[in-house]
Symmetry: C4
Subunit: 480 residues, 4 copies
């Protein structure tokens, strides 16, 4: 950290342009499940259920209303909500959401229309920011449709999105700014100084790995046509190259979660949820909360995986290797360094049969070994306790009790290994306290210079937290 002459404390790598979102935002967005079929009741009922199911207290506290909420502009040029679907107006909705100790998000596009061809904000940025602030909006998802050709160089995109960034700041209200230009013009190279998260791919769809003509790029870099219908594995692999400027306050956004929408297996949804968490992506539930199944609740509610996502480091996953398998699938190792010097590793079997995958210490601690340390990386010669982050997944029976309201309330003092209340005890504090719900199940130890293997079914993940077996303090080094 450094202190400016006027006394402002700056923590390099740990701030954001507006002070918000030092860990990735969590919440719900209606788009993936409902599209334009939205109304006040859906929003408020969903918010209530998120409280009831413990989701709010797990961190899912933004309720985001996506496209199709407007009916035009009034004679003063201000946006007006659809009177049929939002009969009490948006301030009413925001107030109700706030009454639940949640936050309210809305949507617009940096174009003349939204993607659904409702009025867009291009040229109306301050007016729109002002009206949202007046309603009590806490979050803006800002899309890229109908942008009148104002893209093609980073400068054109930066300048266009910066107008809204400044407009939001000028309202005086703290509004999380979720930039959504699908990766056009490499936002991972410029969006972090003007936004809190930035989409890096075309839209997700509910498929694990199916290629789709409409999502033509396999790399985020230099993709001039992001498209949509991008699979989980397509988006995940795009992340491997572009993480270097992700930081507390400004994260690559892999798009909303599809868990619960029916297009993937339970194992596949676990890969999806794990890797979004691993990469510090925002975690926005994209399904119908009102009809959530126990199995899907158990995925969304895994505290050990959420704690990975909400780690104060704001660090990112690193793909150490990826191999295309002979059956046309792939396997990979991702790792991530945590704030408390733990390391999380993800072994992914996206091939088409059961395989045993192995992570070696050399691969896991590659960055330590090649960081110009002029000495062997001490991590290599240590023993590591290994915790399975899915080891304490809530059973479907227990999840059913949560859904039907018969489960006990979770307090800060809870010793549940399957449920967690981050409102009562933050993830940072819980991790400091070695809260068992955040660690998963201890499944073994990795020896010095050793390796860790996991037998994994087709399309499944092994997600492990490695913690020093001894209490020796670990070398800590800023990597900028």
């Amino acid at each position: 950290a450094y202190i400016t002459k006027d006394g402002k404390v700056i923590i390099p790598g740990a701030s954001s342009f507006n002070g918000l979102n030092l860990v990735p935002q969590m919440g719900w967005d209606n788009w993936n499940a409902f599209g334009c079929s939205i109304n006040e009741t859906l929003v408020l009922n969903t918010a209530q259920k998120m409280v009831d199911f413990g989701l709010r207290d797990l961190g899912y506290n933004y309720v985001v209303l996506d496209d199709c909420w407007s009916e035009g502009r009034n004679s003063s040029g201000y946006l007006v909500p659809n009177q049929k679907t939002f009969p009490h107006g948006m301030k009413y909705v925001a107030d109700k959401v706030h009454d639940l100790n949640m936050k309210f998000g809305m949507y617009s596009s940096a174009g003349i229309y939204t993607c659904g061809k409702y009025p867009g904000s291009l040229g109306y940025e301050q007016k729109d920011a002002d009206v949202w602030a007046s309603w009590g909006v806490d979050y803006l998802k800002y899309d890229n449709c109908y942008n009148q050709g104002q893209s093609g160089t980073p400068k054109l995109s930066f300048d266009r999105y910066n107008v809204m960034s400044q407009a939001l700041n000028k309202t005086g209200r703290k509004i999380l700014y979720s930039l959504c230009n699908w990766g056009d013009d490499n936002p991972f190279d410029w969006a972090y100084t003007i936004s809190n998260s930035y989409r890096m791919s075309g839209d997700i769809y509910d498929s694990f790995d199916r290629p789709d003509s409409r999502c033509p790029c396999t790399e985020a870099i230099g993709c001039s046509w992001p498209g949509f219908h991008c699979s989980v594995m397509n988006i995940l692999n795009k992340m491997a190259a572009i993480q270097s400027r992700s930081q507390p306050g400004a994260f690559n956004d892999m798009d909303m979660l599809e868990v619960g929408n029916g297009g993937q297996s339970d194992d596949e949804y676990k890969v999806h949820f794990s890797m979004w968490a691993m990469n510090s992506s925002p975690l926005l539930m994209g399904t119908n909360v009102l009809t959530l199944t126990p199995a899907n609740l158990a995925i969304y509610s895994n505290p050990a995986v959420i704690a990975l996502n909400q780690d104060p480091s704001g660090s990112v996953g690193i793909r150490k290797w990826r191999t295309i398998t002979k059956d046309g699938g792939e396997i990979a190792l991702w790792t991530r360094e945590m704030n408390n010097s733990d390391t999380v590793i993800a072994l992914i079997n996206a091939a088409n049969s059961t395989m045993t995958l192995t992570a070696t210490a050399a691969d896991i601690f590659l960055d330590q070994s090649t960081a110009g340390s002029f000495a062997p990386a001490p991590e290599l010669s240590e023993s590591w306790d290994v915790y399975d982050l899915w080891g304490n997944r809530m059973s479907n029976d227990e999840a059913a009790t949560v859904l039907n309201g018969t489960a006990p309330t979770i307090e800060a003092t809870s010793n549940s290994t399957t449920r967690y209340n981050a409102t009562a005890l933050s993830y940072a504090d819980g991790l400091n306290a070695n809260n068992t719900a955040l660690l998963g199940t201890k499944v073994g130890t990795m020896a010095p210079h050793g390796s860790w293997s996991a037998k994994l079914d087709r399309h499944s993940i092994g997600l492990f937290r490695l913690r020093q077996a001894s209490n020796n303090s670990k070398r800590k080094r800023d990597e900028l």
Copy 2:
């Protein structure tokens, strides 16, 4: 739909910048067959034959005069038609075309010259728009030659083409704006707010699938040199990625039709015509109407295929899969959702021997299954009646009677299965009425969770309309 405060009704996804072209334009353009060998007689004779052959009443109502019509500018800077080839001037031609209840289109380029090096409109946009409006022009094809380097970013291209868009609007006359920049700078990402259709590839030539050095790109995205001499299959495959913003009022233009020009087999022309229709491309006859053969008339006149193109949905074809075959050819499945909840499927055999191709319900209804529905797609568990859209193709004998003027007139009350009069009964109304000419021949039923197969000759297509076997109402969902 939403209503602006001043009472304007906006139908998201169903409007255009000037209100025109909610379904793709149809008509004739002289270029492919005649190039610069044009004159008044050719235009007017062709228009008359289009009426006589029932083509106008099938929807081919624009008569478009392409390049090489001008002899320069007069001292006031207005364009002057060639006095030898258009001795009565262009207003005369337009009036004659209007007398036939057809519309008249003309051509220019957003450069200092046209492609034929006649005067271009760059810098003369308003003068040229004004003179066209004064002549009664209803349509402008606006090319990209000699543009003085004003391309290379979407913004440069958008701005240049927008000048003419605004000039046309300012004339007060409704003029369909056909933007023709061959896909430079991704017009599928910006042209829809300023034009009614936009070319997405270099020029077509009369070949089914021959690669040509002069058409170097195989993808439309990021192609900085569209070239020309692009085959039917080259253009078709470029479409698979870029359809997402096609919409009523603004369509990707795959270029003029080559049916009748002699370079392809009857089967190949059927693929060509079918897939242009399937993808909501403009359908502009590009051949010599005066010498049309019965077989080619039968292709151009197939009401069931035209109804696919003119569907009020303005939806697009989606390539669900494409496989390169061992003989160096390819096979593919395309599908399209229709306004009335039917689905059309196209199985294409572009390989070099007869093959049986199969479309599964899972592929056909993929979008319904992955649309965040949080429930199985109901389409999967339904039965579907299957209609062959080429099943009622007019016989050559019947087509000959049309060409020689001995065929009966087609009225709205006609029960012909092979011919249709859309002037008397619109395609939308005809589809609502289950007009048999628009459905083709019923050839079977696809069972729930089943599939549909067709044995297809080399370079041929199977084009089928699937309709729910029961009367159960089908789920309908806006996809934006």
Copy 3:
């Protein structure tokens, strides 16, 4: 042709921005052979030898002095020639060249330095154009070094080069403008309205087909780093895609010829010379004329090949097919339509052993067959007499007499089959008169729907002119 209201006759496709260079320029440039080792004597001696050897009268009439001629700017900002190497100044040199009925060319760069780091013209365009005009300069080669980052979009390059184009025109002197930006930003898409020729690749080097790390692109399109050390085959293949706007007055420039510099075999130099001629590239001798061998003179002096290059059509070669051979080489067929309805075909064996290559009528006349003719191409059903354009190559013995000054003078009335005087009888007139020196040797006839084969050694070419066997007039059609 069309006539503007003020009486100006415009021939579409047959003019240029300054009226010059309706066929490709020919001449000599010192760079390839001498680099910066230049002086007055070299220039004037070379010019004299070009007259003596009949090269001027074959059309090589531009004597171009390349980089390194300047010693800076004077106090008024005008360029000053090096006083040691050009002791009498440049007007003296130009006058001497003009006395030989030849034209004088010079060099600069659209940057702050030339490539040799002498003063460049960026920011001095009018001053430099004025001083060149005052010296009597007829030709400017304008390079791209040290351009201060003013490239990266067509607009940036166009605007920079256009400043000099306008400066040259403003001098009032007719100066051929040879734009040399190595293909950056696709000049084949914009340079034709401001220049007479435009380089489309990095610099050539004296190698037939060796790949070189310093010439990284294999396509001209979108090549952001043209480099140098590009081989003959590299440059040739880059041409296949980019010819569409080449036209009388503005040609793609494949760079100066290497014939005579020692790095290639006689057969390879024949491929090189033939294909530069075929593609309407400027023909600038890039060797030491003073030490020319008989064999190399015979290549440079082949009237039948030069007549191909200087055809009034200004048309271009079209690569009909290219096949990579198993030995890592390649074979190809190129064709070109001539002004008098002849067709020239080039069969290239760039593989590593002798092969018999075949051109079919279907390939040769592909464009006629697919041009929307709505009728079979008549060319297919005709017989064609075949002339070998290298059949009458001057023997080394005869070439030696030309070099030693004992050969007879060539007049317009000459019936030599090996030598030609285009000053006395233009190529256009000679072709109209069926001058035998321009036709090569008749070697056979291609039957209707037939083909033409040639057995070709490794790295050699078969270059043939096809002429209708009967006197039937051939269909002629503008292709724009």
Copy 4:
């Protein structure tokens, strides 16, 4: 050379925008080994050891302090050093460094923050240049982080970096300008007129050839996402295409050296050091000098390799061939022409087993043979003495005496074959005098039209200087 009218002597290819850096800069930068863990003591102790170990007198005379030295701006907007880590301020540090006859370098970024998120210089260029000049700074490394989207075309990057170039010049102090934009927008095409060196790749890491997802490009050209974690071989191969404008005063910068950091074998570090030297890259030690091992000192201190780097020609390495081996590795030949007409060749075995590699005269002298010489290259018919540039590497025993201070001092008159003092006798003078320490060991002779072979272990290099066996003067030719 040429002389401007006002008497200024310009040596084409041998100057720079500010007169500095006619041979590549050498020195030390803390980043690779220490990152942000910096302070006054580290800097000054390192400088002292560089003197003590003879490194300064070998040419390593710049001591560069990288990121994280600032604590913000004062109320006048000037940067302020961190008071804890640099308690005496920066002028103190610079003075101390100057007292050792060394030069002092600092770091900033052409963005709103440095990469470590300290204040950047974008918008503060003159203020920052002024304060650095006031402290006595001699060198600026200017990074690319947080540039607010001001990239994407050469012009945007050029203009942004040019502001600092002019600001540095305006201070009146001579400050070496090390441009560090990682190759964005092809700086090898524009940076040489405004800077003294320019990074051409994403950051190096201490690995010989491991691919890393975070360094996605394999070519420097058109790489829109340079990334970091680029291996030695990755960076080396990127150099092959982009060297054409490297010149005395402005060099491609391959990034700081990793020798000594532990991630590579001794053989691999020799390849790394040799090829950085071969390509005229700046040589900045990137390790902990205080803990240097004898083996690593011996690499950094090889005078024969440094003399290659510091050759007055400022010429570059040329990759004559590269072959991917079956084991997934690669082999290559690089060559470089020296100022004194010697040629250096590098045979690289980056495959995975011992191989004998051969360089033929035809490959070595390719450029001479294809330079338009219209005569055989004389180099081909000469004999060449071959010197192994690693033949006289200092033994570890001798290196240990240097490190422990017991080695003798090296004077200009030294006849050591292993150590050198360039302060006493410049490399240019030493080469002229055939100083044995600069030549390595003679290991044989290459016959006319012959070849040179070396048996090389896995991941090792053969680096040889070829010198004409006779005293015949060698043809010398400017290649521009």
